[in-house]
């Protein structure tokens, strides 16, 4: 009960969209982009478009891709999803001469990203890696919730019940992100909100990871005080329903 179009939005905005946070968290990723000034656009027919931009040792994501140095065009969401799976090799429709960036920079970046998002059990034994991997997943999941709430037919039903206002998603006291709801459209904002209508706070990074990995259920954790919810709880309730679908798409 998933659809290729929604998966394409998740793959672009949440998976590739997490590369900027990867570059903040991982030294190897930072090294790869430190001298780059380039933009890489993705255009999917019947699906999303957007771009990863690199300059001054930083990366960021933007919705605009027409003026990118390199553009990868895909004839369908399925083809784009194939690139993410590694079953489709993209050919630039613009910037063919810059293909070296794709091979020498972008591909290694995605390899590092995969090492965090599909982390080996042994790697997760390292607490530093564990934390980076979980923080990266947190960013990815927040973006994926927004995409599913805006595109997936069942996710849209959940979003239709979400009243306007910010939902604060937090791990412990130090890390928080925002899901902004306006007219039932969700936007992930990768910083803590100044004000919020509701909140869902995970006790610590270990619990967050267990929830992300599906080892713990948020409803059960509420009773134990490991997940705190408050404010306009109907927002959190519906975000939780979308969160269930994140696992469905990213499994």
């Amino acid at each position: 009960m998933t659809d290729a179009k929604t998966l394409a939005y998740i793959n672009l905005h949440a998976v590739l969209g997490s590369i900027p946070y990867l570059c903040e968290l991982d030294e190897r990723a930072r090294d790869l982009i430190k001298n780059e000034k380039i933009s890489l656009g993705f255009r999917v027919k019947g699906g999303p478009s957007g771009a990863l931009c690199f300059a001054d040792g930083k990366a960021w994501f933007t919705d605009e891709c027409d003026s990118c140095n390199i553009i990868l065009s895909f004839s369908s969401p399925e083809k784009f999803n194939g690139m993410i799976d590694g079953t489709v090799t993209p050919i630039p429709s613009k910037g063919l001469l810059k293909v070296g960036f794709l091979l020498k920079k972008f591909m290694p970046l995605t390899d590092i990203l995969s090492s965090y998002l599909r982390a080996e059990k042994e790697a997760l034994a390292d607490p530093v890696f564990f934390e980076k991997s979980t923080v990266l997943m947190f960013h990815l999941i927040a973006s994926a919730i927004a995409q599913i709430g805006n595109v997936d037919p069942v996710g849209c039903a959940s979003a239709s019940y979400i009243v306007d206002g910010n939902i604060k998603l937090a791990i412990g006291d130090d890390l928080a992100l925002t899901l902004a709801a306006k007219d039932h459209v969700l936007t992930a904002i990768h910083s803590a909100p100044e004000s919020f209508m509701s909140f869902m706070k995970f006790e610590d990074i270990k619990l967050a990871r267990a929830l992300f990995d599906g080892e713990v259920n948020a409803v059960a954790a509420v009773g134990e005080g490991k997940v705190r919810i408050g404010g306009m709880i109907s927002q959190v309730d519906n975000v939780n329903r979308i969160l269930d679908r994140v696992a469905l798409y990213l499994a």
Binding site: M1, G155, A157, G165, A220, V222, G223, E224, I233, I242
Partner: protein
């Protein structure tokens, strides 16, 4: 200032439960669905109950305004109801041949509920809302069901939403959702799906969660009734929550119309497990031909309890008493809130009042106040309507207002 409660024994029991029961306490009595925020403010398990009170495992006493989410209508352990149940238990309960207590109970309901020509018994509210919808579909040979947004009709797949775990799109594909009190929208739906709508199902007024409860607009029910009649659609009133707290003859009677099918449960037997679907004669044959039953649905003890409960509610004029007590509490709570500068909204019929502090749209202020009340011995919940029971005394209401006052003072000091 009162000493606030602690819940060590509840937490110990919950830790045991988490090992063997999904989510520890599931459903509406659980801390997540019950919106226990912050969770530390709430007890999890009871040790005993009596009249309007429940005691938790740690020995804390609460004036209970949830009434087990409705079943406690006369007071916990009502002596008349319990005596009738005990008498029947000595004779037999779940037996191969049903007891005639079932006939007695059906006769009593037909005599009591204005729109009832017959009664069919089950266990939970959801059993009879499901039967109502199946009956409407069987009678009309149509598929579509109209709901009013904010509804709650149980947990069967057809009552849930497309995004709920375990629900598939096919479960809800014939559901049509319209806004409460919006007759134009309802009329448009009847035009769009002419000849396709089996039933309109609705609670007697909108008592959804996270929102102020809304009574029917003037003329609303009369028009809904007209539209259903003109379109050959069955009108189902889900009186599971409100039943007998507005009107002993049914909430349709209270609002001046007649349902084709009306569902009862909560207040039907003061906590004994029985529900009932009552209906008009023209649907009796349809129900007669349906395959719908359950292992305990014909048990005699709950029937005996139900008879005693209905008779006592009639004798004491329960709905009026409950509304009067609710009104007294409502007025007292509003005045207490005003004293501290808070705008407390109390909506719905007073016997089923819903609370919201309107000063803060996030509801966090409201949640703080509710938590302070609970920790001092008044069991309110955050975002569900409450229930009044007949055992509640003026002294209980006075104590409630005293605790509410203290809770408002604590919250005020913080902000």
């Amino acid at each position: 200032m009162r000493e606030t409660y602690t819940y060590d024994k509840s937490r110990e029991a919950f830790a045991r439960a988490m090992k063997v029961i999904p989510s520890g306490i599931y459903g509406h009595l659980g801390p997540a669905e019950g919106c226990y925020t912050p969770v530390e403010a709430f007890p999890f398990y009871s040790s005993k109950a009596e009249g309007p009170y429940v005691w938790d495992l740690d020995g804390n006493r609460f004036i209970d305004y949830m009434c087990a989410y409705g079943p406690n209508v006369l007071g916990y352990n009502d002596p008349d109801v319990d005596a009738a149940a005990a008498e029947q238990r000595a004779l037999g309960d779940c037996t191969t041949l049903p007891s005639t207590k079932m006939v007695d109970f059906a006769e009593l309901l037909v005599d009591t509920v204005a729109s009832a020509d017959w009664a069919f018994f089950a266990k939970n509210g959801g059993d009879v809302t499901t039967l109502a919808v199946m009956t409407a579909r069987a009678y009309t040979h149509r598929k579509k069901i109209v709901f009013f947004k904010g509804y709650y009709h149980g947990v069967a797949p057809w009552t849930q939403k497309i995004d709920y775990a375990g629900v598939i799109p096919e479960d809800v594909m014939h559901n049509i959702y319209v806004n409460w009190n919006d007759l134009d929208e309802l009329e448009a739906v009847f035009k769009k799906y002419k000849g396709e709508i089996a039933a309109v199902i609705s609670q007697p007024y909108m008592h959804g969660n996270f929102m102020d409860n809304v009574l029917p607009a003037d003329g609303f029910w009369k028009e809904v009734r007209r539209l259903c009649t003109e379109n050959g659609t069955v009108l189902v009133v889900d009186d599971v929550r409100a039943g007998f707290r507005l009107d002993i003859a049914g909430s349709d009677h209270y609002f001046g119309f007649e349902a084709d099918l009306i569902c009862f449960c909560k207040a039907l037997a003061n906590g004994y497990n029985v529900s009932a679907l009552c209906g008009k004669n023209f649907l009796k044959n349809t129900v007669s031909g349906m395959s719908y039953t359950g292992s305990y649905w014909l048990s005699a003890v709950p029937f005996a309890a139900g008879i005693a409960c209905i008779n006592k509610m009639k004798r004491i004029g329960a709905p009026q008493i409950l509304i009067e007590k609710g009104t007294k509490l409502k007025e007292g709570l509003i005045a207490t809130a005003n004293k501290h500068g808070f705008d407390l909204r109390v909506t719905g019929v007073p016997s089923l009042f819903y609370l919201r502090i309107a000063d803060d749209p996030t509801l966090m202020l409201h949640q703080e106040w509710i938590a302070e009340c609970v920790k001092r011995g008044v069991f309110f919940t955050n975002h569900h309507n409450h229930f009044i029971n007949a055992a509640l005394t003026d002294a209980d209401i006075a104590e409630t207002l005293d605790i509410a006052d203290e809770a408002f003072a604590v919250v005020k000091k913080r902000h």
